[in-house]
């Protein structure tokens, strides 16, 4: 299985496309302690990372399956398809998530209207009861459908919620440390992410508790270029507080499909849009 596929021409085109930003960031990194524009520059990396991870293309679809392994090595599975449409780059987004596995979740659907800086609107459809429930905003840092992945990991954490510091620039990664502006609102005291300098994808993120020890770690891997967008095909979330880990495998990604806004409506909860969900 090919991991970290990067053909030379792709690297080249990306390097060209991102040349300006990369140059800026590299310059910043070499003497970042003395650079007056340091905050702005680290923000630029964070913004690009946010766009690369959550806003690739104007819309997208992806099939995902999760293998959830608990501390006693017992395994559960989830399989679903995600449709996404950006309303504004880096801002509002619509998500539709439709489950196919396990049988208990079959036909369950989430509709999310994400609004960075505000609470999301979320609906949940339960097919057995033909019930369309609206979900209170709540804590976004809780388990997504029983996995070690949080809701916030699926739809992205608001980049305005943290302060950032560029710690180090290596040959291919930016090492950025983030601390929450409201420490009481989250379970972590800080996190460190390693952002790929070519793709701007956050490849590793480690969350620390108040004692400074890492208890949660996200890793992305097997990045492939799909429709021009670097896309991790695997993700793994390990959490010592919960015990165990979740592996996520993606397939069937496509971008810029021209998914109409009407797909992200209540109609799709009851009648999942087969032409967009299927391949």
């Amino acid at each position: 299985m090919a991991h970290e596929t990067k053909t030379p021409w792709v690297s080249l085109s990306l390097t060209l496309a991102l040349a300006a930003a990369t140059a800026t960031a590299t310059a910043t990194a070499s003497d970042h302690n003395h650079e007056p524009n340091h905050d702005r520059d680290v923000m630029e990396i964070v913004e690009r990372a946010n766009l690369a991870a959550y806003y690739a293309g104007a819309d997208g679809r992806s099939e995902a399956r999760m293998r959830i392994v608990d501390a006693r090595e017992r395994t559960q599975t989830r399989q679903f398809t995600i449709l996404r449409k950006d309303v504004e780059e880096g801002g509002k987004q619509h998500y539709l998530v439709v489950f196919s596995r396990p049988s208990e979740f079959r036909g369950v659907a989430f509709l999310v209207e994400k609004r960075p800086g505000d609470d999301d609107d979320r609906w949940l459809y339960l097919p057995d009861q033909d019930l369309e429930r609206r979900i209170a905003p709540g804590d976004k840092r809780t388990s997504f459908v029983g996995s070690h992945v949080f809701y916030e990991d699926v739809s992205g954490r608001d980049i305005q919620d943290d302060e950032y510091e560029l710690l180090e620039v290596t040959d291919d990664r930016y090492k950025i440390r983030a601390t929450p502006k409201e420490p009481g609102s989250v379970e972590f005291a800080a996190y460190t992410m390693w952002v790929d300098r070519e793709t701007y994808l956050p490849m590793t993120t480690e969350y620390e508790d108040a004692a400074g020890s890492v208890y949660r770690r996200m890793e992305s891997s097997q990045v492939e270029i799909i429709d021009g967008h670097p896309t991790p095909l695997r993700m793994r979330m390990e959490d010592h507080n919960m015990g165990g880990y979740t592996e996520v495998q993606f397939r069937g990604q496509e971008y810029d499909l021209g998914i109409p806004a009407s797909v992200f409506s209540q109609r799709s909860l009851r009648n999942p849009p087969r032409e967009w969900l299927g391949r």
């Binding site: 299985m1 399989q79 208990e104 709540g138 809780t142 029983g146 291919d172 009648n271």
Partner: protein
Amino acid sequence: MAAGTGERPQRQLRAALLLAAGMVTGVAVAAAPATHAEWGANGGDDGNNGWDNDWEDNGWDDDPWGDEEAGGLPFELSGFAELAGGYRTRDHELFDKRYHLAEARLRLEARGDWRRFDYRVRADAVADGVTDELRGELREARLSFPVGERLDMRLGRQVLAWGTGDLLFINDLFPKDFQSFLTGRDEDYLQGPSDAVRGTWYGEQVTLDLVWTPLFAPDTYPEGERLSYFNPRSGEQVVDRLRAEEPDDFPNDGELAAQLRTRIGGTELAGYFYRGFFPQPGSVTEADRLTHGRLNAFGASLRDRLGPGIVNAEIGYYHSVDYDSSAPQRAPNSEARLLLGYTWEAITHLDVGLQYYVEWLQEYDELKAAWQGDENLDNAQEDDYRPDEFRHLLTARLTYSMWRDNLTASLFTFYSPSDNDYYLRPSLRYRASDALTYSLGGNFFGGDHAHTFFGQFTEDSNLYARLRYRF
């Protein structure tokens, strides 16, 4: 990365372990950690802090994606097997059996699609130790298809629901199975099936639902089979079967239900209309038999985000069509109903939902006069059993989830300050695996009076347990 090395033996080992462990328990045995090359030199600094970077490639690849395991059938098949048992916590003198729920249930669900048509059939086979019978229950047999761009049709037996209440229904007048609900079956069974035609039209601004049920389907209410009820005529708790006459004249005794919905920003607004019958019998025929009175209902609801939660409000007016001022006891009063609710996550993992609900009898003076003039009732009965003009109800739902939602503890409380009675519904649900779920719970009733809505079930308070294996 050395993803390929050792993959095949690992896979075989895993398969052997799975077989040996026996999947009946729903506990899968994971493979021993593979020895992969160190992952990502740039991530996690050096040494990886003891993190296990094993991706366990083995196991993924021979595990098919869900939609690829159809196994040659032209449709998908799933379902569950369930054992359920329930036991009265009080010694009920009217029932021989102490248990009120003892059943083994096999659910089969088949679904598939052909062109633009989707179908789904769900049926239960039940071996029932309370009624000593084997029976089949067809829960759903429906066909869905779009007509043009904006209309979705759904035909056949189906479960229908709308409105904003949590276990309280104003404009949702589709059949409810309160017997299942009060005896400890899964909450899904509260919603009974309808044999109906549903059309949903999606406009630019509004969505219109029209549901035609050709023949009226009543609620399944407590009528002596598993739950006793209070008879105000005799002033006693009874288990006599009510055997109400059901309107069954096709097509005059059908039901029509409509919902018109719209969204303005985050605010969901809906209007409702219903033409049919009171879901529970409250009228008397000319031959003095109990029956369901004609009902026309109108209502509206609102749902929105507010502060940290979701607020909902719903109103409804029940017009009792057959009501006659000269004989107020032969048909139900018309009613106005109101519901206000708020749901939020009070602390992480703890969801709280609160509701206030009221039923207001519209011709109360006439009802009161009729009760006072009833020769069959003595004064004590008349005073005690006559309904109040207003029935107020407060509900609270507390749900706490642990272990990544695999363990859920919930308490739903109904309390009526006007009737001074209550209904507590605690439950504990443990999802041991994707296949196996254990549920434990109770239905506890009480109140100051023997005749009130929840108070009458005091002796029917019960505990139940269920074990469900999904496939």
